[in-house]
Amino acid sequence: MSEVFAGLWRNCATLAQAHHEILSIVGLSLSVSAVATAMAALVGVPVGFAIGLAEFPGRRLVITIFNSLMAIPTVVVGLFVYCLVTSQGPLGAFGLLFTPWAMVMGQFVLGTPIAVALTISAVQSLDPRVRLTIVSLGAGRIRGAVTLVSEARFALVAAIVASFARVISEVGSAMIVGGNIKGYTRTMTTAIALETSKGEFGQAIFLGIVLLLLAFSLNIFFQRLQGTRS
C-alpha cells in the first residue's frame, strides 16, 4: 500500500513534466466522449420522444429492448464495432480501426440506448396536460415538440449527463477499437488499465482521481442546473 502512495506522490511531483501527456489523455477522453454523447443525444432524444409519445404495436417490447441495452457490456460493443471497422468489415475501407473515430462509434453505440431509454422515461413522466395545453393553444407539431422538449429539459439533461457518464467511464470498447495508442487513442480509462497492468498504481490512481473529479464536476453542474428550477 505504501508503494501505491509513494507512486501517487511521485506522480504529483512529476506532474509538471508529465502534464502534456496527461492533458492529451484527458483532452482525448473528453472530446471523444463529448462527440459520442452529442451524437447519441442527437439520435437518442428524438427517437426517445417518438417512442414515448407514439402509440404503436410492440411499443412495450421496444422500450424493454432499449432498457436492456443500457446495460450492454462495453466489450461486446467494442467487439461489434471492431467487426464493423476492421479491414474485412463493412466499414473497413474507411480505415477507422484504432482511431478516435472508432472509439466515438463504440461510445455512440453505448450512449444511444441510455439517451433513448431515459428520454422515453422523461416523456412518459411529463404531465399529460402539457400536450393538451399545447394543442389547445394552437401550437403546430414543431412548436409543440419544442415546448415538450422545454418542459422535459431537466430530465433530458439528466439523460444526456447519464449518457456522458457511461461513455467517459467505459474502457472495454475504447481498448478494443482504439488500441490504447499513446498520444493518439489513449484515454483516461485505457491509460488506467495499462498503468495498473504495468504495476504503476500511482499513475493509475492519479488518473482515476482526475476521472472522479470530472464526474464530480459534472454532477455539481447538473445539480446547479436543477437548483435553478426551484
Binding site: D127, R129, V130, L132, T133, V135, S136, L137, G138, A139, G140, R143, T147, S150, E151, R229
Partner: protein
C-alpha cells in the same frame, strides 16, 4: 364519460353555463367543443362547418377556440412567456405580444406578474394566468372548466365578473362548466343542464332572465313582460330569477294578502302529478303553480279559467 346529446346549439357571442354534478360529462363536453376529442359518433359543427372532416381545417378551427382546464397547466417558465405562448405560435410580433400580455394580466388582476415564475404561483393565481393566456388569443370561443374551483371565496366574484368582461369586451362566446346552479344563473345568459352524459332539465321552474330595476322604494326584477317585486340581492346584480311553483298562491277570487306580487292571468295548461296538479298561468309570462289535487277539484279549474296569483318578495330567488 360517454355523452348522448341529441342536439345542442350554442349561439355566438353569448355566455353559457354547463351545469351538472361531478361525472355528468361537463369536462368531456368541453373537450369536444374545444376540438381536442373526437366524438365517437354524431357530428360537431363550428359555424356550420364539419369540424373533423379535414385534419388541416381542424387545426385551423382549433385556433379559434381555447380551453382553460379546471387545473390548468402553466409551462415551466415566466408568467409572461405563458401568457404570450399562443401568440408566439401564431407568429404575432413581439411588440404586440408584450402589449397584449400586459393588457390581459391587468384584466385578470395580475398586473406586474410578468416576470414571476409561473409554477410558483398559487392555485388561484395560476387559474387567472391561464385565463389571461386564453384571453390573449382573443378566441371566438373560450371554454372554461370549473373556472372558480381553485379560487378563494373573495376572488370568486372577480372571476365571475371576468367571464362577463371577456364576453362584453371581445364578443367572445364564453362556455363554462360549473356544478353551482346559482353561479350559472348569475353569470350566464343561458344554462345547459347535464346529467349522466345527457342534457337534463335542471328542475328550476319559473326561471326568467331579465334585469334589476330600482324605482320608488322597491327593487324590481323586470323580465321585459312582467315586473316582480324582489328583495335587493347582496351582490347588487342579478340576471335571472326563479320562483318555486309551490310558493305561489292561486285563487279564483282576488287575494287579500301582504304579498307584494299579485297577478291576474288565464290558465294555459294543466298537468296532473302524483299528489299535485301543475297549473300554467299566463300573466304576461307563463308561471307554473303547483296546488294539491283537492284544491284543484274544489276550485274547478280548467284551461282558460281566469285566476289570481300572489307570492312574496322573499319567494323570489335571484341569480
Amino acid at each position: 364519460m360517454a355523452l348522448r346529446i341529441a342536439e345542442l346549439s350554442l349561439v355566438a357571442g353569448r355566455v353559457y353555463a354547463i351545469v351538472g354534478p361531478n361525472g355528468a360529462g361537463k369536462t368531456t363536453l368541453l373537450k369536444l367543443l374545444a376540438l381536442l376529442e373526437r366524438p365517437s359518433a354524431g357530428r360537431l359543427l363550428f359555424c356550420g362547418e364539419e369540424c373533423w372532416e379535414r385534419r388541416r381545417r381542424l387545426w385551423q378551427l382549433r385556433r379559434r377556440v381555447t380551453l382553460v382546464e379546471q387545473h390548468p397547466l402553466l409551462f415551466d417558465t415566466t408568467v409572461a412567456r405563458n401568457v404570450d405562448y399562443g401568440l408566439r405560435v401564431r407568429g404575432v410580433p413581439r411588440a404586440v405580444r408584450r402589449e397584449r400580455v400586459a393588457q390581459c394580466l391587468s384584466l385578470v388582476g395580475l398586473a406586474g406578474f410578468e416576470n414571476r415564475r409561473a409554477r410558483a404561483l398559487s392555485g388561484g393565481e395560476a387559474q387567472r394566468v391561464a385565463v389571461a393566456r386564453a384571453a390573449a388569443l382573443r378566441p371566438e370561443v373560450m371554454l372554461l372548466d370549473e373556472p372558480t374551483s381553485n379560487v378563494d371565496e373573495p376572488s370568486v366574484a372577480f372571476m365571475e365578473e371576468l367571464l362577463r368582461s371577456l364576453n362584453e369586451l371581445y364578443g367572445t362566446t364564453v362556455v363554462f362548466a360549473t356544478h353551482d346552479l346559482t353561479r350559472a344563473y348569475r353569470v350566464a345568459d343561458e344554462v345547459v343542464g347535464l346529467a349522466a352524459g345527457e342534457l337534463a332539465d335542471l328542475g328550476t321552474e319559473n326561471l326568467f332572465a331579465g334585469e334589476l330595476k330600482w324605482h320608488g322604494e322597491g327593487c324590481w326584477f323586470d323580465t321585459g313582460k312582467i315586473q316582480v317585486a324582489v328583495l335587493p340581492p347582496a351582490a347588487g346584480v342579478a340576471r335571472h330569477m326563479s320562483i318555486a311553483a309551490e310558493e305561489i298562491v292561486l285563487s279564483r277570487a282576488p287575494i287579500v294578502t301582504s304579498a307584494r306580487n299579485r297577478f291576474v292571468g288565464r290558465i294555459t295548461g294543466l298537468r296532473e302529478e302524483k299528489h299535485t296538479v301543475a297549473v300554467s298561468v299566463d300573466v304576461g309570462e307563463v308561471l307554473r303553480v303547483r296546488i294539491t289535487k283537492l284544491s284543484f277539484q274544489e276550485m274547478r279549474l280548467a284551461v282558460g279559467s281566469t285566476v289570481h296569483l300572489a307570492f312574496k318578495t322573499s319567494s323570489v330567488r335571484l341569480f
